[in-house]
């Protein structure tokens, strides 16, 4: 297990360095961030000053090197010291990138965790039920509903739900309240975003759970369990479900890493200030440090979830060896 983790962590760091370098260089081929930071009455002198203050006057590889070192060791700017992990200061807001991300993280994490709980419980539950009752009216209803719902996008469902529940005054507008300060308003404030965001996921997980279970129920070893006289429910939950876990965990890893990296559309639809909005806003304003910060953060999440998923395989399936 430990060699596996070390090897994979090393690989992940290499990936992050390559990815960040690539993004860094691409960024400078797009435009000069100084013109944006400069504002309306911009003179060549102003631009030069900004270049100097932000370190944009140096060659791009040198800038990238400073950036990289800053993450691990901190960095000194003309305007002051930035301690590690330093992703620099936003061009647009002049805020520290790292602390901005840390500020936004609870919103995104709350959204991701609540949404995941919703789609796992409802989606897997409905899928298992449909597989158990295969061929019945219940199965057909669940399958039909999940087919329809899996094609309803958040930006369509979101405004409709807002129209029915919020603009009519039945519920307060969704907003993020700190979990520790007021759990009840945290829950109520995020309820609509959770349900709307998880609708598509719920539908997809329902279909996936149903189809993998039906596949597993036809496996020979599941039939053997039945031939041993094990009760149908036991065979269903212990044998077939165990075999369904691998594909479900695989997809869950991908979904969770993208949700924790920021649910852009959901955050936009419900005016929540999470990492997803931060990512979009920073790209729109050519805010290099912020783009780099958000990008490295979400890339790291994907890599971490990949490692977790691979390690989980070994717990689910004894045939998998982590080497």
């Amino acid at each position: 297990m430990l060699p596996f983790l070390l090897r994979r962590t090393f690989g992940a760091i290499i990936t992050l360095v390559l990815l960040s370098a690539f993004t860094f260089f691409i960024f400078f081929s797009v435009g000069d961030p100084a013109t944006l930071a400069c504002g309306k009455n911009c003179t060549a002198d102003n631009i030069a000053l900004i270049h100097q203050n932000l370190g944009l006057d140096q060659p791009v590889p040198v800038q990238y090197w400073h950036f990289l070192v800053g993450i691990f060791a901190g960095r000194d700017f003309t305007l002051g010291h930035c301690s590690a992990p330093c992703f620099g200061y936003s061009f647009a807001t002049k805020q520290d990138v790292w602390s901005t991300m840390i500020d936004r993280l609870p919103t995104t994490a709350s959204l991701a965790i609540g949404g995941a709980v919703a789609f796992l419980v409802i989606g897997l539950g409905a899928g298992l039920l449909a597989a158990w009752k295969r061929g019945t009216l219940l199965d057909k209803t669940v399958t039909g509903a999940s087919m329809v719902l899996s094609s309803v996008q958040i930006y369509i469902l979101g405004p409709i739900v807002l129209g029915i529940f919020v603009y009519s005054g039945i519920m307060a507008a969704p907003k993020y309240v700190n979990l520790t300060s007021n759990p009840a308003s945290w829950f109520m404030g995020l309820l609509i975003p959770w349900l709307v965001m998880s609708t598509i996921f719920t539908a997809q997980y329902t279909r996936m759970a149903r189809s993998t279970m039906i596949e597993q129920l036809q496996e020979e070893h599941v039939r053997t369990a039945k031939a041993k006289g094990m009760p149908a429910r036991y065979v269903f939950l212990r044998y077939a479900w165990r075999g369904s876990l691998i594909p479900i965990v695989t997809i869950l890893g991908i979904d969770l890493s993208s949700l924790f990296g920021g649910a852009m559309i959901t955050e936009y639809t419900f005016q929540l200030a999470g990492l997803g909005r931060l990512a979009i806003d920073s790209v729109k304003t050519l805010d290099l440090p912020m783009v780099m910060g958000v990008l490295i953060f979400s890339a790291a999440l994907i890599l971490v979830f990949n490692i977790i998923v691979d390690a989980t395989y070994a717990f689910i399936d004894p045939r998998v060896r982590l080497s």
């Binding site: 061929g135 020979e220 070893h221 039939r223 053997t224 031939a227 006289g229 009760p231 399936d317 004894p318």
Partner: protein, 355 residues
Amino acid sequence: MTTPPKTEEKPAPNGSGSDPFLSVRDLHIRFSTEDGIVKAVDGLSFDLERGQTLGIVGESGSGKSVTNLAVLGLHNPKSTEITGEIHLEGQELTGAKEKTLEKLRGNKMAMIFQDALTALSPYYTVGRQIAEPFIKHTGASKREGRQRAIEMLTKVGIPQPTLRVDDYPHQFSGGMRQRAMIAMALVCNPELLIADEPTTALDVTVQAQILDLLKDLQQEFGSAIILITHDLGVVANTADDLLVMYAGRAVERGSVKEILTEPQHPYTWGLLSSMPRLSSDVSEALHPIPGSPPSLLNPPSGCAFNPRCGFTGEVGGTRCGDERPALAPGRAAACHLGSEQKQTLFTEQIKPRLG
């Protein structure tokens, strides 16, 4: 000889007093598929007594496995239509409640499947899989279950059973997995054991060991065994009686000795001629049965074997294509050839091939 006289078309009540241990009467199994109705088993009857072994041979798709899955009630009731009677010690199994079957499966009747690699769950240890039915049927504790699993592994000849009990199936070799499978089937001392090609996936040495093991265990517990195979070599040493199946029907029935020395059905002749013999000349060609098994969606009219049979001319006319031959009671073959014709044909044409 344990197959008492009976007619196939009209199941007669058993004249000789006590009922056979397992009795299958006029069994029909139909699957509804997208392409139509598959008549997988079409009017099958046989009996089996305790302590006896019945071999069922036939090509793939002849209905061997389907029949035995029906005995255990493992077909999906939604897509399968089963008619006829299956009695286990007088208890009717076709149409029995799922709860009733659950209590019998793995307990009074058990099955050994063909490929232990796919038939054992990869996710649980061998010990747990063996102990599960024991715990369920006897109400034993987990500890007792584990002890029983070790005991069973010892019995089937797994070395270091106290260690191997915690292994997963993939850590076992092919022969050991099959042994573990047998241990699992025998854990509750079943009175009826169905072995569905238990040795097909194994090499010949291991094959012989497994068959010996089955024999030993049968002597110990006096179980009735149904041995499904397409390998006549396997039944020759193991079974008492033999049922040759073709296209969902029994075409020949008799004791193993009778069928192997004096087969009466052209299909059985074909099976025997297609077997390589150690004693025969190397240059001598094998005689495969021409053609391939019929589609059970649309089986041939008359005798299902007639399109592949080389002796329809001997019967004369179109009788083989028109009329389905019945299987007479007792030692019999379902064929239109007269008994003297069969005798002559076998001695003159078939026997020389068998060497």
